[in-house]
Symmetry: C2
Subunit: 357 residues, 2 copies
DNA sequence: TTGTACGCGTTATCAT
DNA sequence: ATGATAACGCGTACAA
């Protein structure tokens, strides 16, 4: 026999404050205070309340609390595509850090590099309905109308790895321009002759900045960009453009690829389809922060964004804004990038493998 | 000049139904109905309401609606570690599919393979506070006490890629036992002699099932397992155990690795630290569903879980349970696994690269 | 079709 | 320290 349903109304009824209060023989406020960390309750009543709550299997209703306090302790995170392993990493770190502060993540995937402004706007409106305490935009551009909405609702927004024309929005970015410069220097000093660049999405600020730094630095050394293609941060597109670049008579001998995700595709195409050796025939420099696990030891030098610094900055800006009630403005953080050399993959010769260790 | 704050109360005040109603000169219910898809409102009043709402920048408060309707349209998803690219993929698909049905994802990361039962319990209690409409557990075990809680709250739970001793919980898994069998057959028919297995977490059902199928099939062919190690689904641990297995006199010539994530580590260790060629010296079979992008063309055969089928099953079970009000029970779905051969990576010879195409 | 009034579960205010 | 009561913003019988 199951417990009987109270009445014919709602399908099921949760245990509420009121019932706990009744069983404990106290007022609802006493119960509320018992479950409010900083409140003052007599030890005796507190015990009675907890006992009653335990008996009834009571747990506070965060939704009702939100309605009353106007704090949901929910942070919305908008991400475009999780194929680029940089973002799962970020999400994981964000979640850990925010959970430690009692916040939770409401996740939104804004698919499609081809999402229209309206799509994004409606998504944001969707988010706002949930009365989130903050928003991390790691995906789309923020239209000024949306910024206005967030401003009106006084919701802190942090643009993650994106910049926007809208003023007064906090942003956390890594130094993509300097990253591009670093990539150029690496290739130049390794003696590359015909240096190419494979861009991400053309209207993406990260791609633009990386290209700018890269081309600038080449120019400072009196070297032009030998060839340029667009991979749209997409695996297939990057592979396709690689094939195309190498179908010409004059082939590049070095490539700076807009992010790791595309770099995989480029390496794949180079080695398996075009039969070129990396780095002997072509050198490749990638850009992003894919966990080592995904690399499998490929020969590749990468410009890494520091995921820890970026999430840390994001969280601190967010929390500070939330607690201070400051809407928007300032809070622009640029984290440095790092050059990381990955291990070389070579097929070992029998002689080598025979040698101890 | 900005709009003036209403009063000294809460820091900011959102636009509500009431204000819209007042401006439109109608009742609050009229406004409510206007924003309720299937309601009956006169076209004329609807227009007035929408106009007023637009002017005031009104958007419905999902939290208040939840309190009233007892439907949050939020699904909690619990994942352990996002380093294994299988899970970002799942999350992305889940999110897309559920968003299409008007649901949103509240994401929880239950870090640490070493999380205690209590950790998980408190996390779940945390989740329950948000009155989620459903839970996807892709990470932790479900204790029977938790199951009882969910049952009491009448919240549908789907165990994703996990099995539990608790009865009457919906589960969606791929056929890990058959996957293990497939792996064994592949290695046997390729002439492997000394076949090893690297397990994931010892208490993980997926790892146990894969091993069971693998060992069973070997036994059916009169072959014992040559060697066994544990990688704990961790990159470093997998690399370490690989080094150890190959430091002995008798080295395996084939390995079945519990998932792709560890397979990367194994390949890395084999090729770069131990100087062994894959697949010439050692054959490796992986298990999971990492996007092609991450592979970079490694020689590896993988047993793939079908992410699409699994999410599809998860969503349909969830939605069906939610709408029907059925708490738990039945709903066990096992999706088939597939064998996928990845492209071979070889360093091209000069002769090859000179040849056209 | 439209409006009134109450309930959803909790917190905050103000007495006591 | 404790208790009564009014919000919080919205859905929804129910009555008109």
């Amino acid at each position: 026999m199951e417990t009987q349903k109270p009445r014919g109304g709602p399908p099921s009824t949760a245990v509420t404050l009121v019932e706990v209060a009744r069983l404990a023989g106290v007022s609802t406020s006493a119960v509320s205070r018992t479950f409010t960390p900083g409140a003052s309750v007599a030890e005796k009543t507190r015990a009675r309340v907890l006992e009653a709550a335990r008996k009834l299997g009571y747990r506070p209703n965060a939704i009702a609390r939100t309605l009353s306090t106007r704090k949901s302790r929910i942070i919305a995170v908008v991400v475009s595509y999780l194929q680029n392993q940089f973002y799962p990493t970020i999400i994981e770190k964000l979640s850990q850090s925010l959970q430690a502060h009692g916040y939770h993540l409401l996740l939104f995937i804004s698919n499609d590099a081809a999402a229209t402004d309206d799509d994004i706007d409606s998504l944001l409106l969707d988010i706002l309905q949930y009365q989130v305490d903050g928003i991390v935009l790691a995906s789309a551009m923020l239209s000024s109308s949306l910024a206005a909405h967030c401003h009106a609702a006084s919701i802190p927004v942090v643009l993650f790895n994106r910049v926007s024309a809208v003023k007064d929005v906090s942003t956390v970015v890594s130094d993509n321009v300097e990253g591009g410069r670093l990539a150029a220097r690496l290739l130049l000093q390794s003696g590359a002759e015909r240096i190419g660049f494979i861009a991400g999405l053309e209207d993406s600020s990260t791609s633009q900045e990386r290209e700018r730094g890269f081309v600038d630095e080449l120019a400072r050394h009196g070297r032009p960009l030998f060839v340029r293609g667009t991979g749209q941060y997409d695996f297939e597109a990057a592979a396709a453009v690689t094939r195309e670049l190498f179908s010409r008579d004059e082939k590049p001998d070095a490539l700076f690829v807009g992010n790791d995700h595309m770099a995989f595709a480029v390496l794949d195409a180079l080695r398996n389809e075009l039969g070129l050796a990396v780095p002997e025939d072509v050198q490749v420099v990638g850009f992003d922060n894919v966990p080592q696990a995904a690399w499998g030891g490929y020969q590749l030098t990468t410009i890494e964004q520091n995921a820890d610094l970026m999430t840390q900055a994001t969280v601190s800006i967010l929390l500070e804004r939330i607690s201070s009630g400051v809407r928007m403005g300032a809070g622009h953080v640029t984290t440095p990038v790092t050059v990381v050399h990955r291990a070389t993959t070579r097929k070992a010769t029998k002689a080598e493998s025979a040698a101890p260790r």
